[in-house]
């Protein structure tokens, strides 16, 4: 039992370290910083200006917080979804899969750097939210907001891993990554409440962890504490949805791996 846990931890850690090294071996750190500091700024600006044009004079805090949270999609959804696709395009997926290492530890480990990256992205987004867009931060409960951000980053990366598992079978994950990168804007209550969506679309919103995260972040900015039952319920639901997504992703990964081996499509892209 102990040996298994140790081996799991070792694979998890080495995958996390390799993923970080691999990222910076092709991505110039200055470009990474540029992404970190510009993505959220322009996403918030886009909807901030639209909202100003549509409803001049109304408070824009709803949109600012929603987009600050949603800015992690580039990292937690787009980058994580592409993990398997990139292995395939680099020609390394078969080599990775013939190792006896635990698949779950390996792929969750690969996504871990993106959790940290997501947290940095949201922190920068909230900086812009306050300094550039004038978010009212006077009543914020900082501890609650920090916990909400951390939970949302883990949960969204978990959701990204579920999407990534489909890369074992699909020719490319890029299409899927692009779809879900922007779907959050529509489904997760970022710019308008989920209740504004047609009723038949609302279940999709509640199957995405970000929906709970954006609501919880708004409550934290308004001063709700961690002991607030509404916050606890939102964070609990978010973690539950993320855990289900990771488990579904793992099941899909195993099934698609078998299917791809049988059909000989593991290297097809």
């Amino acid at each position: 039992m102990n040996a298994n846990v140790m081996q799991f931890s070792r694979v998890f850690w080495s995958s996390a370290v390799i993923a970080k090294k691999a990222l910076f071996s092709w991505l110039n750190p200055s470009l990474w910083l540029m992404q970190l500091f510009t993505m959220s700024l322009f996403q918030i600006a886009m909807f901030w200006y639209i909202a100003q044009y549509v409803n001049p004079g109304q408070s824009l805090d709803y949109i600012i917080v929603g987009n600050a949270m949603q800015s992690i999609a580039y990292v937690a959804v787009f980058a994580v979804t592409n993990i398997t696709g990139e292995e395939k395009e680099s020609g390394t997926l078969p080599a990775v899969l013939v190792t006896p290492a635990n698949r779950f530890a390996m792929f969750v480990g690969k996504a871990m750097f993106q959790v940290l990256n997501s947290m940095a992205t949201v922190a920068v987004a909230f900086f812009y939210a306050i300094v550039v867009f004038g978010l009212d931060f006077s009543s914020v409960d900082l501890l609650t907001l920090a916990v909400v951000i951390a939970v949302t980053c883990f949960a969204t990366v978990g959701f990204g891993l579920m999407l990534s598992s489909m890369g074992f079978y699909l020719r490319t994950t890029m299409v899927l990554a692009n779809i879900f990168l922007f779907m959050g804007l529509l489904f997760c209550g970022v710019n308008f409440p989920v209740s504004d969506l047609p009723e038949f679309l609302q279940p999709i919103s509640y199957a995405i962890p970000m929906t709970y995260g954006t609501d919880a972040a708004r409550m934290a900015v308004e001063g709700a504490s961690l002991t607030d039952p509404a916050i606890m319920s939102l964070l609990g639901s978010e973690l539950l949805v993320a855990a289900v997504a990771v488990l579904i992703g793992y099941a899909i990964m195993l099934a698609f791996e078998r299917l791809a081996r049988r059909k000989g499509t593991l290297e097809m892209f």
Partner: protein
């Protein structure tokens, strides 16, 4: 004549690439489509022309998104496939090869734009009452031409970097903001106006909106003149589109020469 032949062959090659994997249309269209849907849901309490304003902006974003992605990935894909050196050593200058691809991409961009328009109109029942259909089509086509020129300019810059994909993703929202696709650029801070006005699509969407029947008070000319113009400025908009397109092409020609030389000197063109 050999240059034209190279351009035509490159156009055909790009078409075959597209037809072999048309699902690549999805990444180009998804952002403009989703953002248009989001804006229409934000506009729920607003009716009439404001909705058409958003839909036309979404169409323009569709064309924009395609130009950006296609120009970024047309070079990057050659790197991944290991064929970029072969493309550079052929006797035709790189600009003619990229031009053929860019023209195909601009055509697909128009399909993107029209798809966003049609889906938004069908899904939200937006009435497409176009005041001047002839000028609307002319504006659409001229904007397409200017986007092809801009794609050429972007491509020249992307030749030198192996991170064109990252730059492409990073430029998407800044360009949507700067071109005022979904809101008048007068809302932007004053220092950003020259940047917006240096983008042909800013003038293109202005012309398209005027042809659709929008009053000139939200026009880019209101920003330029500081007051609402008395009459439409559609021809001036289109003149600006043409002028900027010519400037983009001229700069692209110079840049391609520099970039080709630089790529041969450093020998790092194929570095993935």
């Amino acid at each position: 004549m050999p240059r034209l032949r190279a351009m035509t062959a490159s156009f055909r090659q790009q078409a075959f690439h597209f037809l072999s994997a048309p699902s690549w249309l999805i990444p180009n269209i998804i952002a403009p489509f989703v953002i248009t849907m989001v804006v229409l849901l934000m506009y729920q309490e607003v009716t009439g022309p404001a909705i058409l304003y958003a839909v036309l902006g979404g169409g323009m974003m569709g064309m924009w998104g395609n130009t950006l992605y296609a120009s970024g990935y047309s070079i990057q894909s050659e790197r991944w496939w290991g064929t970029i050196e072969a493309v550079l050593v052929v006797p035709s200058s790189l600009i003619w090869i990229i031009a053929g691809r860019t023209i195909w991409n601009a055509l697909i961009g128009v399909v993107n734009g029209l798809l966003v328009l049609v889906i938004a109109v069908v899904a939200f029942g937006v009435p497409m009452d176009i005041a001047d259909p002839f000028m609307f089509i002319v504006s659409f086509l001229m904007t397409m031409f200017s986007l092809a020129a801009l794609g050429l300019l972007f491509s020249s810059a992307f030749v030198l970097t192996r991170q064109a994909g990252v730059l492409t993703n990073g430029l998407e929202f800044p360009i949507y903001v700067a071109s005022g696709c979904l809101f008048p650029i007068i809302l932007l801070p004053g220092w950003a106006h020259p940047l917006s006005m240096s983008l042909a699509p800013t003038w293109g969407i202005d012309a398209i909106r005027e042809a659709a029947g929008f009053s000139p008070e939200d026009s880019i000319w209101a920003t330029v003149l500081g007051a609402s113009p008395d009459a439409g400025f559609i021809l001036l908009d289109l003149a600006m589109v043409a002028l900027l397109a010519i400037v983009y092409i001229a700069v692209a020609v110079i840049l391609f020469r520099v970039v080709e030389k630089q790529a041969r000197l450093t020998g790092e063109l194929g570095r993935v």
